[in-house]
């Protein structure tokens, strides 16, 4: 029987690699009886969805500022010097 520490590590790794069959059985069994780790799994899924939304959201809905005018000018200068 996996401990929560081991089970959560497996849940995290399942986001990065395919678990072996025994690993998968162990995790699934643990998640059936452990509410905390089942929440952890849900949180990991939400984290991944948040990241893909976050990475993809290039538009203004973000609180992040855009390029400052000074930075924009500096980049423009670099571009002009490049193709002179």
């Amino acid at each position: 029987m996996l401990t929560c520490k081991e089970a959560s590590k497996m849940v995290s790794q399942s986001m990065d690699r395919r678990l072996s069959v025994p690993e998968r059985i162990g995790v699934r069994f643990h998640l059936l009886i452990c509410k905390g780790c089942a929440q952890f799994r849900d949180h990991m899924t939400l984290l991944r969805r948040t990241c893909s939304q976050h990475a993809g959201s290039e538009e203004s809905e973000s609180a992040l500022p855009g390029l400052s005018p000074a930075a924009r000018d500096r980049i423009r200068q670099a571009l002009m010097h490049n193709d002179g």
Partner: protein
């Protein structure tokens, strides 16, 4: 900006994209910058990434067949620049220290989440409907805050995996760390983010 003859077309007649880095800067500069800033969390480096991207795009402009939208094409170039920058940053001593498998440092913060019998010290709580969290501006703000509070090396590995979408194999290769090391770092980043979000998302006005 002076251009050679090949550029002279009637802008109303052409359906080829404008191959003009200054126009790209105007149209996509903010989007590229925000994209880079999210992954790099550093204003100066994010500006560099934008500049490098536009220069590289201009140099390889004839390879752009217009299959992807201009922005998608530029973002693809930007992703490579971001990986380059993170790879350079990963050579700094602070990162190597964190990436070093010296057991205590690595497992230490995982250990903080569990007691000696391997049980959660504070079991993860129910966050409610994930779709509602995703739509909630406050959740996204909490996420950005928590990401910024991760240690830089963990945040870099996490960003490469989850924001840039690299596989762990690619990350290991880029950063020259072992795969088990990479998994431990990702796990630590996820534990840290989750715990921070529980405080800042659940602990808010709900």
């Amino acid at each position: 900006m002076a251009y050679n003859g090949h550029k002279i077309t009637n802008p109303l007649m052409t359906d080829t994209p404008q191959l003009d880095p200054e126009a790209w800067l105007d149209a996509h500069g903010d989007a590229l910058y925000r994209y880079a800033l999210r992954q790099l969390r550093d204003d100066a480096l994010a500006q560099d990434a934008v500049q490098e991207t536009l220069l590289a795009a201009f140099r390889s402009r004839h390879g752009y067949g217009g299959q992807a939208t201009e922005r998608t094409w530029l973002i693809a170039i930007l992703k490579h620049k971001i990986v380059d920058i993170i790879r350079q940053r990963a050579r700094e001593p602070a990162f190597e220290q964190l990436a070093d498998p010296g057991e205590q440092g690595m497992e230490g913060s995982v250990d903080e989440s569990f007691d000696e019998t391997g049980h959660w010290v504070m079991a993860p709580r129910n966050w409610g409907d994930p779709d509602r969290a995703l739509e909630n501006k406050r959740f996204r703000e909490a996420f950005e805050l928590c990401l910024s509070r991760l240690s830089p090396a963990l945040a870099d590995v996490f960003a490469l995996r989850e924001l840039a979408g690299l596989s762990t194999e690619e990350i290991c290769k880029e950063l020259d760390v072992s795969s088990s090391n990479c998994w431990v770092m990702l796990h630590r980043a996820r534990l840290g983010l989750r715990q921070c979000l529980e405080v800042h998302w659940l602990g808010g006005e709900r």
